[in-house]
């Protein structure tokens, strides 16, 4: 059963499709990519995630061939692709603006790349029809790009970039121009198409939810460096830094000093006059070392009375309540002014909510709920 899980990154025998080897890219004095190494495997759906200006688009443009690394090499299937121009690479890109040719019909847009390869007419027609079917665009084939909707244009761009059956498909913020509902539908459609075609996808996005939904692995980037590369659940559950914890989802960060308390267990002193917190951590910390405790709001329980068996419990009062329908986020102010967020599912009717503004409440969590981070 275990062997069926798709995880080539854990297999030392697996050969990566793409290898970044100590790649640095500078634009004048600005370093966009800073000595970065990364392996991406075949059939992966890999997400590059980060704020704007973190270098993720530069990574993608280097893969497409529009930029060349200042230092280091990029290997595709073991071959150094730095000297290969974009039109000779087995890599296709779906542009953020879609870049559909406005003077050509949908059909001709999709056929554009195939025509450059001098594909025989019959094969070409078959391939275009296949792409139209895959993206459900059959009835729009004769229209021009400005005569279809944004979601349809997005699918044309996808069909066009997939038509040449590239080894690697690059997607630059593919869903950025779509509204939320359509975006969610399209995410699943993308995953479906990726699975059907077996193509390796590399997606660039600043939307962490999108990256988590579609990707098999996520790379979180900041200032030209990779902060963490892992599966979505590991990125969320065990971030390796405050930056990653903070970038992905909502998190409470408590700063303090760690004291070892036996096997993988630490006591954290975090505020004068407050009881120390307990957290377990696999990484070793020296006594008195400054550290950060990252706790997800949904892992913090909120109650009116002090829970009897809780290892970590602190008292505060409700400062604010954000009602999200299915969930409520309580902003609880501690005596020293720190705000801790706690999230609960609204299983009861709102009128029967147990606490409201200014109510004193207890926050509690287990020793394993929080992640202890050095930086």
């Amino acid at each position: 059963m275990n062997s069926e899980v798709f995880a080539p990154w854990d297999d030392p025998q697996a050969k990566p499709l793409i290898q970044f080897q100590n790649v640095t890219k500078r634009f004048g004095a600005f370093t966009a990519i800073d000595n970065l190494s990364l392996d991406i495997y075949e059939r992966e759906f890999f997400a590059l995630l980060g704020p704007s200006g973190c270098g993720k688009t530069t990574m993608m443009r280097m893969l497409a061939g529009f930029e060349t690394p200042t230092e280091g090499h990029i290997l595709l299937g073991g071959q150094d692709i730095d000297p290969i121009p974009p039109n000779k690479r087995a890599v296709n890109m779906m542009f953020q603006s879609y870049a559909l040719f406005p003077h050509l019909s949908i059909w001709d847009n999709i056929a554009f790349g195939l025509r450059r390869d001098n594909m025989p007419k019959r094969d070409l027609e078959e391939r275009v029809e296949e792409m139209l079917r895959l993206t459900r665009l059959e009835q729009f084939a004769r229209r021009k790009p400005h005569q279809i909707s944004g979601g349809q244009r997005q699918r044309v761009a996808l069909a066009r970039s997939l038509a040449k059956a590239p080894k690697l498909l690059l997607l630059d913020e593919p869903l950025g121009a779509l509204d939320k509902k359509l975006r969610q539908d399209t995410q699943f459609e993308l995953m479906d198409i990726q699975e059907k075609t077996g193509t390796t996808f590399v997606i660039v996005t600043h939307d962490q939810e999108e990256a988590m939904t579609v990707a098999s692995r996520v790379a979180v980037m900041d200032q030209g460096k990779l902060m963490q590369v892992a599966t979505p659940d590991r990125i969320y559950e065990t971030p390796n830094s405050v930056y990653v914890a903070d970038f992905i989802g909502d998190v409470n960060i408590i700063e303090g000093r760690a004291t070892a308390q036996g096997d993988e267990s630490y006591q954290i002193d975090w505020a004068e006059g407050q009881p120390p917190l307990t957290a377990s951590s696999a990484t070793a910390l020296s006594n008195g070392q400054r550290c950060h405790l990252a706790i997800r709001p949904e892992k913090v329980a909120i109650s009116a009375e002090r829970p009897a068996d809780a290892i970590n419990a602190i008292q505060g009062k409700v400062h604010d309540i954000a009602y999200l329908g299915n969930l409520s986020t309580y902003h609880v102010e501690l005596p020293n002014g720190t705000i801790i967020k706690a999230q609960t599912a609204n299983t009861r009717r709102i009128s029967r909510r147990s606490f409201t503004w200014e109510d004193p409440v207890w926050l509690s969590w287990t020793a394993t709920a929080a992640v202890l981070l050095e930086n």
Binding site: A64, F66, N87, M93, S97, F101, F112, R116, D117, R160
Partner: protein, 296 residues
């Protein structure tokens, strides 16, 4: 009420400044030449009342238009004008497109400067610039001096007073009309389209032919019409730079008016010229309309 007035203003303007003068010219073209002031008859005299008006209309005829078909000077001049206009439009396109392309591809902070350089010549008198070309192109002119000095030629070239000089003058004068519309269509083009074409397997040159040229087509068409329409009736350039062999309808028109003082025939020439120009003007309007519709 206010709306009606607002709409009426441009119509009154067009009526007073375009339609009325046109009808005056049309009327003269139907008159006969006379030794008088103005040099044609009949003139409308309201003092005689209804019979005067009836008399006036009975004297109008198409004689001058018939005359245009009898003397082969006129149709040869029209044909030669159209030919010169077509050739010089193509030459202007060949010279103008690379300039517009370079401007559109230049760094953004440089574009206003280039734009300025294109427009700058308009700020000096057109006539002075044409005279400057006479100084450059004449037998003892700067061009011949330069070519003799570098040893490329041993005897001076005769350029001034030939059709070559006319083409040089027209291309020089009308270049901005070609550059600006092409530049504006190239500048608006999304750069990622070229990258997409390359990504899909085009070489640089293929991407240019398959994407850049088709997308700048509205600009090319607009530029060509903006050059061709005024060049057909051009008078100053052929009369100053051209020679006796240069036959253009603008020159014929001028001579009829000022040398022969035959206003009726000159007016007939002008009316026919206008009819010839209506075709490209309508095509031009249609192109512009299609473009604005595509942009919506």
């Amino acid at each position: 009420m206010r709306r009606a007035v607002l709409i009426a203003i441009p119509y009154v303007w067009l009526l007073a400044l375009f339609l009325v003068p046109f009808f005056i010219v049309l009327k003269i073209s139907l008159s006969d030449t006379a030794l008088a002031i103005p040099p044609y008859t009949p003139t409308l005299d309201f003092s005689e009342g209804w019979t005067g008006i009836k008399n006036f209309f009975s004297q109008l005829d198409l004689e001058n238009f018939v005359w245009l078909t009898e003397d082969d000077l006129y149709w040869k001049a029209y044909l030669s004008s159209v030919k010169i206009a077509l050739i010089s439009t193509i030459l202007t396109l060949i010279v103008g497109y690379p300039i517009a392309y370079a401007m559109a591809r230049a760094p953004e902070e440089w574009r206003p400067t280039f734009m300025m350089l294109v427009i700058l010549p308009f700020w000096t008198s057109f006539l002075i610039r044409v005279y400057a070309w006479m100084g450059i192109l004449s037998n003892e002119g700067y061009l011949n001096q330069l070519l003799l000095w570098t040893g490329i030629i041993s005897t001076p070239l005769t350029i001034l007073n030939t059709n070559t000089a006319v083409y040089i003058g027209i291309v020089y004068t009308y270049l901005p009309f070609m550059i600006l519309p092409i530049y504006s269509s190239l500048e608006r083009m999304d750069g990622s389209l070229i990258e997409a074409a390359e990504d899909l397997g085009c070489s640089r040159l293929q991407a240019f032919w398959l994407v850049t040229i088709p997308l700048s087509r509205p600009g090319i068409i607009a530029g060509c019409f903006l050059v061709m329409i005024p060049v057909i009736g051009e008078f100053v350039i052929p009369s100053l730079l051209g020679g006796s062999g240069t036959l253009m309808i603008g020159k014929v028109l001028w001579e009829e008016f000022f040398s022969n003082r035959d206003w009726p025939v000159a007016s007939a020439v002008a009316v026919v010229l206008l009819l010839i120009l209506v075709v490209p003007i309508v095509l031009f309007q249609r192109n512009q309309q299609k473009q604005t519709e595509a942009e919506k």
